[in-house]
Structure formats: structure tokens, C-alpha cells
Assembly symmetry: C2
Homo-oligomer: 328 residues x 2
């Protein structure tokens, strides 16, 4: 450990302030000098000391991400994308899996440039004392002291219902009413019910199906129940891609064809996995859109740009041949 710019300076026969400039690629250093210094730095395997750098420059080029226990799986792909985007903007991402409050404190001590909080439970109170700017991805809240990026789930489900209606579907089921309290899921169920009733679609026994969780097996069970009953819908909207996978398995087992016998649209923000036999119609905000907005907001916040406090991302409908038109 411990190669410093002074060591490089000695080796290169220049002052260490010149080394500093060269390493920061300053135009104030002549090209040949710069080249030489960089070469020596590489040779000595120089690693800049982030602590010293931050202390002197008041800038860490680091963004702290609060990633609490919950949702670790679902958010994995999103975090990976955000990490990439921030890296492209030459920011380093550091994560903490501590509770929001603790993590925010840690990141404040580390003087990161900004903090991203993944927060499904609206814990805004906890983070109000951060002197580092905070951005959150979670449920929007007009009273939040910092920007929150949210997804318009209601609109997503609405789009799906509307589309199916236009295609002639009148018996539509929604699978994904998670038992227990989950505001994200409730929003979707509510939107389904409202959309359906606004369109004057008759409600029927299997209109809203509850599940234990959003896993593949839950979808499988739910679909089997439906398909064995007398109230078989012509279309299913489901709350997650995992549910959809289970539903597809069930249809295959029971020799029900998609989309001939039943159409299916899944809500999801994450990109579709390749391994589905039937490419899935989906509604949701593309992962790239989310990550771009999150990354951009973080950078804007760092640069003290004006930012609207609530950013609601609008979903897109992507139709594949997992849906069909019903002609009367």
C-alpha cells in the first residue's frame, strides 16, 4: 500500500502538484510530461486515495444507494442498470443494506455526492436530516422533502384493460391481489377494478384472484384454479412476470392455448426473460426508462438543477402474440 503522488513526483522528477494536474488530465500540463507521469503512475500501480481526494476537492464522485432487505431481488436488475449509467457519468456506486436511517447516516459521513433510497414504505421522515441530497425511488408523496421517482401503476393496468376491451374481451381476470398489505399491489388491483367498471364490463366470479406472493408457483396455482372453474376468462392480466410464467405453465399442462383460448398481459418493469415459450405482452415502464430517470435525477440533484419533486413515469404497452382479438 501507499504509493502517493509524491512518490510519482520523485520518480518523474517533477513537483507533486504537477503530478496531480497530470493525473486529473489538466490542460495545464504538457502532453509529453503528462504521458510520462501517467506511465509512471501505472507502473507503480498508483491508486488515488479517495479520502484525501474528497477532503481536498469536496467531491467524492460517489453515490450511495440504500438498499434495504425488502425487494432485494426485484430491484437487483434496476440497481445494476443504474450502476452502469452512473458509471458512464463517472460516478461510483456504493450500496448499504442497513436500515434507511443508518445507511443515510453512513453515507453522510462518507460525504457521498448524493443518496438514492429505495423505499417502498415512505419513510421520508427518517431521511430528512441528511445534508447530502437524497433521491428516492418508491411511492410518490407530494409532501416529500426530496424528489421521488414513481411508476404510474394505475395507468399501466388501465392501459392493459382498455387494450383488451378494445380487442373484444369482456371476461378479464386480474391475478395478483397479494394477501396482506402491499400498497404497490393494491394500487394495481384498484385500478383494475375501476377500469373494468368504467368500461361497464360485467364483473364475474374470477375477476380478481388473490395470491400469496408474486412467485411463479402462485401464478401456476391461481391459473389452475381458474381454468378448472366454470368462469374462465378470455384474458388474464397479472401483476408480475413470475406470475405470468406460472400461468403459462398451467395453461400448457391443461392444454389451453395462448392466445387462442386465453390472452395474457403481464405487468412488469423488468425486461422479459428470454426463456418463455410464448413471448409475453406486457405493460410497465421499461427498466431503461426508470434507470435513466433515476440516474439523471441524481446527477441533476448533485448539480443543483431545478427538479420537480415528484416524477411519475408513464408505462408502455407492449403487445405480442400472447393476446388475440375476439370477433363477434
Amino acid at each position: 500500500m501507499g504509493v502517493t503522488i509524491k512518490d510519482i513526483a520523485k520518480a518523474a522528477g517533477v513537483s507533486y502538484s504537477t503530478v496531480s494536474k497530470a493525473l486529473l488530465n489538466s490542460p495545464l500540463v504538457k502532453e509529453p510530461t503528462k504521458k510520462k507521469i501517467i506511465a509512471i503512475a501505472k507502473e507503480l500501480n498508483y491508486q488515488p486515495n479517495a479520502a484525501a481526494r474528497r477532503l481536498a476537492s469536496k467531491k467524492s464522485n460517489t453515490i450511495g444507494v440504500v438498499w434495504p432487505t425488502i425487494e432485494r431481488v426485484t430491484l437487483s436488475a434496476l440497481i445494476t442498470k443504474i450502476n452502469e449509467q452512473l458509471e458512464a457519468a463517472s460516478y461510483t456506486t456504493l450500496l448499504s443494506i442497513n436500515p434507511v436511517e443508518t445507511a443515510v447516516t453512513i453515507f453522510n459521513q462518507f460525504q457521498v455526492d448524493a443518496i438514492l433510497v429505495f423505499d417502498d414504505n415512505n419513510k421520508s421522515e427518517y431521511t430528512s436530516s441528511s445534508s447530502v441530497p437524497v433521491v428516492s425511488y418508491g411511492l410518490s408523496d407530494p409532501n416529500s422533502p426530496y424528489p421521488i421517482i414513481d411508476v404510474n401503476r394505475k395507468q399501466a393496468i388501465h392501459l392493459a384493460v382498455e387494450y383488451l376491451y378494445q380487442q373484444g374481451h369482456r371476461k378479464i381476470s386480474y391475478i395478483g391481489n397479494v394477501k396482506g398489505i402491499d400498497r404497490l399491489q393494491e394500487e394495481k388491483v384498484d385500478s383494475f377494478q375501476k377500469s373494468v367498471s368504467d368500461l361497464g364490463i360485467d364483473t364475474f366470479a374470477n375477476a380478481v384472484i388473490s395470491v400469496d406472493s408474486l412467485d411463479q408457483y402462485d401464478g401456476y396455482l391461481a391459473a389452475k384454479n381458474i381454468l378448472h372453474s366454470e368462469h374462465i376468462p378470455t384474458a388474464i392480466i397479472c401483476g408480475s412476470q413470475d406470475l405470468a410464467r406460472g400461468i403459462i405453465r398451467a395453461t400448457q399442462e391443461l392444454n389451453v392455448s395462448i392466445p387462442e383460448d386465453i390472452s395474457i398481459i403481464s405487468y412488469d418493469n423488468i425486461p422479459q426473460r428470454e426463456d418463455l415459450i410464448i413471448p409475453l405482452s406486457t405493460v410497465g415502464v421499461p427498466l431503461d426508462t426508470i434507470s435513466e430517470h433515476v440516474a439523471k435525477t441524481l446527477i441533476d440533484v448533485i448539480n443543483k438543477e431545478e427538479i420537480s419533486n415528484t416524477i411519475t413515469l408513464e408505462p408502455e404497452l407492449k403487445i405480442t402474440n400472447s393476446c388475440r382479438t375476439i370477433k363477434e
Copy 2:
């Protein structure tokens, strides 16, 4: 932002070096002075500057964890435990989801006290240039330049086979031969085959069942196939708890009773989820054991204690009534 010890010193009417000592709880500061200083610090909402602290003390009290893309789900519980343990030892954990090489560089720049690498692919070459000590959790390798903590999977499966044999089982299936290359899974399959043949158990059609992945649905499918065939084992060992869940679902569907008709033992290091209908017999290293060893090794490495380069943790067999004895 920006309350420093100098601000506190001014407010308290002492020198800032006294403040520093007081905040570090040094015995060199009188109790009343200390109390007063701490009170003021709290009042001003003072946050120590981690960068400055590290620069001056050469110590960060921080451990960097390299979080791999793969296996993020499985390792989630483990990293949570490790985080807790390290916190108890007053270390802060920071994660990076970058590739090993990048993450190690970042952590070197941040001068963390030690780096923990989760590494399934033995990428030791990448991390050899770290000046910060590295500890890895992954496949043991005698040539590794740093300590690796590993789990004795072979012994785990061996214990399971042996136990079932002692209980009179002679037709035992192993579900969990993952298609594709996965050394962790291969180790288990190999051990199963060796243990079985050492005990002189006849091999039969359904002895080793391959699966696409270790998910619940794969277990479900595999079990269904077995139970529909003519070669039904009296006991199943499976490679993960998720597989076990699927297997149990399949038995329920087909009215096969556990353990009356079939016994089941699952390999797993993570604690059993509560929601299984049948409490599962398991073999594996308890999560707490793993996390304790990892945390301890990290701290030992920081304190430059002597450490054996390969630590292999031994599994435990936990039998519940998912297994039964076969009497002739």
C-alpha cells in the same frame, strides 16, 4: 452541511483537539468536559467526516463487500447476517455490485480495512493486486493468496445418504443435477454418487435427476416425473430448499404422504422458511456459522492474526419428521 469539530470547540470553549479526544471517548478527557462536548455535538447534529478521519487515522472501520450478479438472492440472507455481525464489532459494511476487479479497485481507493469477495468462479487472479486484505467466500483453492471460506458440500450430501441408509432406505434419489456447468452443484452430485456406491446401494433409473435450475418449479416438475414413473424412491435428497418446496407441492397434488410414502432431506445453508407445511430435514452449514466465520476472518485479517488459508465449514444434519425409518 459542515459542522466540524472546530465549531464544537468554539461552542464548548475548548480546543478542537480536546473535542476530538472527547468524541473518541478518550480517557484523557475529564468526564464533565466530555459530557458537555458530546451534548453540543449532538445538538449541532455533528457528523464526523469519514474522509478526514480515515486520512488521519489510517483506519476506516469499513469493510467492502463485492456482491456478485449471480446468486444475489441466495446470498442475501448471508450478507445481512454478516453485516449485523460486523456492525456489532463496530465495522460499517459497504457493498459494490461491480465486477470483482472494479470493485476491488474502488475499495482500495476508499481504503477500506478489508474486502469480502463472494466468488463462485474462483477469480483469484483478479484480486491479487489488492493492497487491502481480501477474504473470499467461495470454492476453496489451496493456491489462493488470501483466505477462502468454503462449505463442505460433499460431506453434507454424504451425511444425508448415510443417515437415510441407516434408516433402512435403499432407493434414494438425488434431485438437483443442474444442467450446465456449476461446480457447486457438481460437487454435491458427485458426492451423492460416491456415497451411494460406497454403501453398495443399487443404482436405479431415478437415482440422479437433472433440473434446469434450483427453483421451486424445477423441483415440482422433477418430483412429478419421478412419482409418475415405475421407479419411485423411498427417499429424496435435493439440492436446495426451493427444490424441496416444489417437491412437497408435487407430493401433495399426487396424494403422496411425507414421510409415510417418501422421505425427504434438503441441502441448504439458509434457515428454513416458516411457511412449509412439513418441516424439512436439512443438511448444511447453518447460516449463523457461516456468517460468524466470515466476520471473524475479516476481523482477524484486519488485525493481522495468523489465519489458515482455507477454512472449510462442516455441515450439520437436522432431522425432522420429513424422514421415516423403514423396517423390514
